[in-house]
Amino acid sequence: MVQERALPKFQSSTAKVTREEGLRLYEDMVLGRLFEDKCAEMYYRGKMFGFVHLYNGQEAVSTGVILAMRPGEDYVCSTYRDHVHALSAGVPARNVMAELFGKETGCSKGRGGSMHLFSAERRLLGGYAFIGEGIPVATGAAFQTKYRREVMGDETADQVTAAFFGDGTTNNGQFFECLNMAALWKLPIIFVVENNKWAIGMAHERATSQPEIYQKASVFGMPGVEVDGMDVLAVRAVAQEAVARARAGEGPTLIECLTYRFRGHSLADPDELRSKAEKEAWLARDPIKKFAAYLLEQNLASQQDLKAIEKKIQSVVEDAVQFALESPEPKPEDLYKYVFAEDE
């Protein structure tokens, strides 16, 4: 087993969290976890198809970053591992589940599937199935905000864009090209790397000459930070700083979140390469358990509060499945609908 990189230390006492915020973060992470567990169940029961990439283990990243933004106003851009980013951005669980079932009520009308979740309303710029291709799109959304402000004189244009992607993706040209342009033009964007140590079966250290991804920001003159991606408060703290910087027109930030996926690359992956020791070490750092312990310890929540949230989310997820099951399929006569802009 490769030696683990030392995780950056975070003083959780410095994080100012109210009870309300704490419960909100907790609920969002639980939603991510239970939703994905349900997806695995539905996949094996033949209700969803194709490649399904689950997010278990990485919840602190989606929750920590997106809830530090203004979901629905700011832009979020994801990858094929996009269910939980969509949920954090506020796309209703019903519409995400229905999309996975291929239904007309899905957030992409059943045309996209697991790897192509979109919501104009929630400003989810999409799930992108090719690695790296979402980064330029996110950079373009950030450019648009700057353009509206500076060219069109729109004072309200202060939106921030978050682009999420994996460690493996940081070896792709689009990553470097966009870091360059975002820094050059001081775009309001945060690049969030979810370094889960693996790109399918390619160990991060075998793929890159400088495994500390956050350091790659320095050559672009951009702040780069590493953060414990299993600690939602730590992620939230760096995200808040980066978002504030972007909103103030001070440019982009690269955030490297050290995290781990608790399942295989996709539900089709036998997951044979990762060692038991590695998996166990990371499972012991479950971000949801960690945050639950924090909330209890700080007297921000009681066991009953947490139980109540879990129960509530369970019913949200059950309801999403019921909704998806009962939803209609797209109509065959609509096969060509949405190819062109004229099809509303």
């Binding site: 832009y75 979109f118 710029l125 992108y128 980064i135 799109v137 950079t139 373009g140 959304a141």
Partner: protein, 327 residues
Amino acid sequence: MAETLMFNALREAIDEEMAKDPTVLVMGEDVGHYGGSYKVTKDLYKKYGELRLLDTPIAENSFTGMAIGAAMTGLRPIIEGMNMGFLLLAFNQIANNAGMLRYTSGGNFKIPMVIRGPGGVGRQLGAEHSQRLEAYFQAVPGLKIVACSTPYNAKGLLKSAIRDDNPVLFFEHVLLYNLKENLPEGEYYLPLDKAEVVRKGNDVTILTYSRMRHHVMQAVKTLEKEGIDPEVIDLISLKPLDFETIGASIRKTHKVIVVEECMRTGGIGAEIIASINDRLFDELDAPVIRLSSQDIPTPYNGTLENLTIVQPYQIVEAAKKMVALKV
């Protein structure tokens, strides 16, 4: 009426649309200070500023993706490919995201953008700068593909492409930028999906586009002297094809020649012939003749280069052969 060079006609189109709509902008390599590789955006940055004439780093795939992100969020970007061939590096963004994203997103997003620039076989520019790309892109769903051929249609079509809510791939031809024509005063728009009947005739329908239109018209001079009366149609829209105009002509002449600059295999002509077979087979008096460029990388040597693309004399021969057929 002002005599206008083609690159200036294109420039006027961009200038007029930018003046009218603050969401219209140009992005690409050397489009700002330098004014574009063929001067289509010359000095526009002085009028509209550096953000609206955005000089990008040499990163085709990424700046194309950026334009898509900007289009999804409400701007109307025009991308200039310094040479359209360089956009092979942006094939992923053009195909997956410009072309398919609206559909994949179930209609969540529109992508109003224009991807334009110089293409085609120039004069001894070598294989990589003498690409015939239209066929590569024609299979991508969701793209409109337009080829302009005169200063008049270049201006009117580009204005419409900028107004269109879909991604439009807009081909200009390196050898046509200095064509001159009197343009109407004031603004005009031409439809993106209509072919142009360049010359009415009865004996044979010649379907062509871009620079080959001019080779065809040279051939027509010879044919006229020999008493042949061809109908010449400039396709303009390479996708979708305007089968109303094409069909009306074929129902009249019953004979078709396709003259294209793209390669023979899987070309625009191949698609046209297949569509004619589907829709108009009974109207044909003879198999369609297809004159395409050769299935080889464009050679540097001038003689070989001339042999690679269709020449007027070949069009004359084909038309004579076609018309001589007794049916």
